[in-house]
């Protein structure tokens, strides 16, 4: 990692690498901490964990990123990293839409059930009251 990379703007790239490593470590710790404190359920955190690990791996392992970017035909390796991250974020957002839709459906059913039960409850109260009044007579 110490040798000079074949770019004219290599200084910026090294700076960028440190920022990427720092950012990805912070992200990983942040996500792990959220899971530890039960602020995110494990099932919803998997994609986030995956994303931060991929981010970390490619920020540290420059040759790997160079290889991947050559495979993808991207001239500027950090751009390949951004593309990968962007795709991962898309996947997470789509997962969110799925979860939201499922929760909206559950929410609707609960609301309806709540209304029906409240109706039954009031009805029963009325009938119990009638019954008590009749027994008193």
């Amino acid at each position: 990692m110490g040798e000079k990379a074949p770019y004219s703007i290599d200084v910026n790239i090294f700076k960028m690498q440190y920022i990427a490593i720092f950012g990805s470590v912070v992200l990983l710790i942040f996500i792990l901490n959220l899971i530890r404190r039960k602020r995110i359920k494990e099932e919803y955190s998997l994609l986030w964990l995956l994303l931060s690990i991929v981010f970390l791996v490619f920020s540290v392992w420059r040759e790997g990123l160079d290889f991947i970017s050559r495979l993808m035909g991207v001239a500027y390796p950090p751009a390949a990293l951004f593309l990968i991250l962007l795709m991962a974020i898309f996947m997470i957002l789509i997962q969110f839409s799925i979860i939201i839709s499922k929760q909206a459906e559950n929410n609707k059913n609960l609301t309806q059930e709540h209304g029906l039960l409240k109706f039954d409850h009031e009805n029963l109260q009325k009938r119990v009251k009638n019954l008590e009044d009749k027994l008193k007579e």
Binding site: K108, T111, L116, F119
Partner: protein, 258 residues
Amino acid sequence: MKGLSPIVFFNSNPSNTDEQGKGLRTSDTLIIIPAFNEAWNITHLIKEIKAEGNYDILVIDDASSDGTGKLAKKTNLAHVISLPHNLGIGGSVQTGFKFANIHGYKYIVQVDGDGQHKVNEISRLLKLIKLDKADVVVGSRFNKKHKGYRSSSLRRLGIKIFEILGILMIQQRIKDSTSGFRAYNRETIKFLSKFYPVDYPEPEAIILLGKNGFRISEVFTKMNPRKGGKSSLNKRGIFYMLKVSLGMIMTYIRPKSA
């Protein structure tokens, strides 16, 4: 259980004969009124329906802020379900289907809370159902001669598109698939209490029912112009049409509901 136990006492009341404790049913037909902020009209509407025939009435108060539910309860002529938060027309109506399913009603007629539907047409909708000629009857606003109330041009365009989609998808020509004036039989109630579209459900429900083999008929009814309140449909215009068209297409390509 012959003694004077409370249960027997209870069942001696003629309106409480059902053993499962669901004895609030006094008719085999339930009129469901989904209502969101219709306080100006609800009392009048309930009285009008009650005067029309022997129907049980269920008002689904979709978290109104103007006391619609309280007014409906005050009449003592209707059952009232108050939803804890706003579900929109689809979720409200489905609450009515679930209620009818639980309490064993044979027929449902849905009448909108805004007073557009003429209550003296209820029996006409029910007639085809009771003769077992149809599972669903839609009360359409388009008279053959285009008399009576006609709606805005944008809405008419939407209705035309939905009509064409209906012809293409389920080979049935429903001229007014946005109408919420509908009658359903027991089988349909059971089905719709499980599956009913949300948001703007009427045209999607037509495709859903047609696709699942229910017989749909349309009866031409006159409608009153809106006396007050706001239609939930017109103001959303293009978005409404796109959303409903997408919903219809998705309903069509989805596998049949179990």
